[in-house]
Subunit: 228 residues, 2 copies
DNA sequence: GGCGCGAGAATATGATCAAATTATCCGCTG
DNA sequence: CAGCGGATAATTTGATCATATTCTCGCGCC
């Protein structure tokens, strides 16, 4: 464990800037997004309340919230696990992704700024490095950041939030894909996308996004097809 | 020696099969959907904990869940209100509704059964009665039930759940529309929709749904345009 | 193999602490 | 002397925790 207990510090005037349940939520969220938790893995309140420096109530809230976002699954008998996608789930996720994310891309093109393109370039090269190193967690994190950064600039918070939720759903499965196939032949349509963004070509950008989505989702479908 | 509880058990014969936080969640959810709570109205934990028979923790959980679904809004300074839609929010909601709900309609057509059509007919006549009575809450409830029933038969739980969330967002505003204009000239494309369903005409059903969405959303846009 | 028993985990309560809004008061200024 | 502004007190509400209760599951026993 790399977590350091600093409760003594917290007791001092150094007050928590964010409420505990928010911190727990973000910590858990990242674990789900970047594959620290495997599909099917159980999540217990008391376990987290002891591993993290937090009581049961904040942990409870964070878990509830993630359940309602589809990042965790409530089994009805008081048990909570990381959900295992079915092919039917995945097909619906693909449909919604292809509805929302190209639209976010289009809107981002309209509001594009040079500084944003630079940031995206930086994220993409970091992503390439992660791929060549075979660093799966870094790949997942950079890939997510690339998309999230782009969507945040679309000026459409409702759509961006929905896209975020979709990523929470297939995050754990993406991790499984990488564990199976490695990072070498993962899709990276970001080059096409960046080129289209640079010349403000709305439809080319949307098309590149569709292809990025299709490639990523097909990898997951392939894994799901033979290990249900 | 654990056989103590006897008469008390009988008194609780219809004991809660569902946990309290679930009951609170559903109660609040309906209040939001059907306009018992107005946009901008404040929601307090302790207030609900006393008005409902529940403690603070279950109420807290339910509120957190509704916040994450967009049915309530967290103001950052620990205060929770029923959100007031902006025109920008509404535009994005319309986009997603028009992406998802026609698709749900198409899928429902494929899996349609006579029994379902009968149920939908029943809901629609109940809706007509509510309109002619000017019974706004009943109109809202029946309208929601009509759509929810249709979507539940599409065999696409992920999509149906997303549609449900969208309804939670514009529910309070729909109530305002009815309060302003009454129920008389509200859209009811359900007749076209039912006819298309009866003859399994997929595209006609989807088109009718798009028109139903557009009409309803335009009413909200009209109200939002002059009273923000 | 079915049935009760016990361990462990989730649910729910009330108390306690902290934060924020509201109300009040005092001094200052016109 | 009256009205106003800012600071402080009081109330309301949220956040967290420790604890009690209830439920589920696994294990041994009949």
């Amino acid at each position: 464990m790399t977590l350091v207990k600093n409760s003594a510090v917290e007791a001092m005037a150094e007050a928590a800037p964010q409420p505990v349940h928010e911190q727990v939520y973000h910590a858990l969220r990242e674990r789900v997004l970047f594959g620290d938790l495997a599909p099917g893995e159980a999540v217990t309140i008391q376990g987290l309340a002891q591993s993290l420096p937090a009581g049961m109530t904040p942990v409870r809230e964070a878990i509830r919230r993630l359940i309602s976002e589809g990042a965790l699954q409530f089994l009805g008998n008081r048990r909570v696990i990381v959900p295992q996608l079915t092919l039917a789930d995945l097909e619906q996720l693909v449909f919604v992704r292809k509805s929302i994310e190209p639209e976010l891309t289009r809107r981002a093109v309209s509001a594009i700024e040079p500084a944003l393109i630079n940031r995206l370039h930086g994220l993409d090269t970091a992503l390439d490095h992660a791929i060549s190193r075979g660093d799966v967690p870094a790949y997942l994190a950079q890939n997510y950041r690339f998309h999230a950064t782009l969507y945040a600039c679309a000026g459409a918070p409702v759509l961006a939030e929905m896209a975020d939720r979709l990523w929470l759903r297939f995050g754990p499965s993406l991790r499984v894909v990488c564990g199976r196939f490695g990072t070498q032949n993962l899709p990276d349509r970001h080059k096409d996308l960046l080129a289209a963004l640079a010349r403000a070509d709305t439809e080319a950008a949307a098309t590149a996004m569709v292809q990025d989505i299709e490639q990523g989702m097909e990898q997951i479908a392939a894994v799901l097809a033979d290990s249900p």
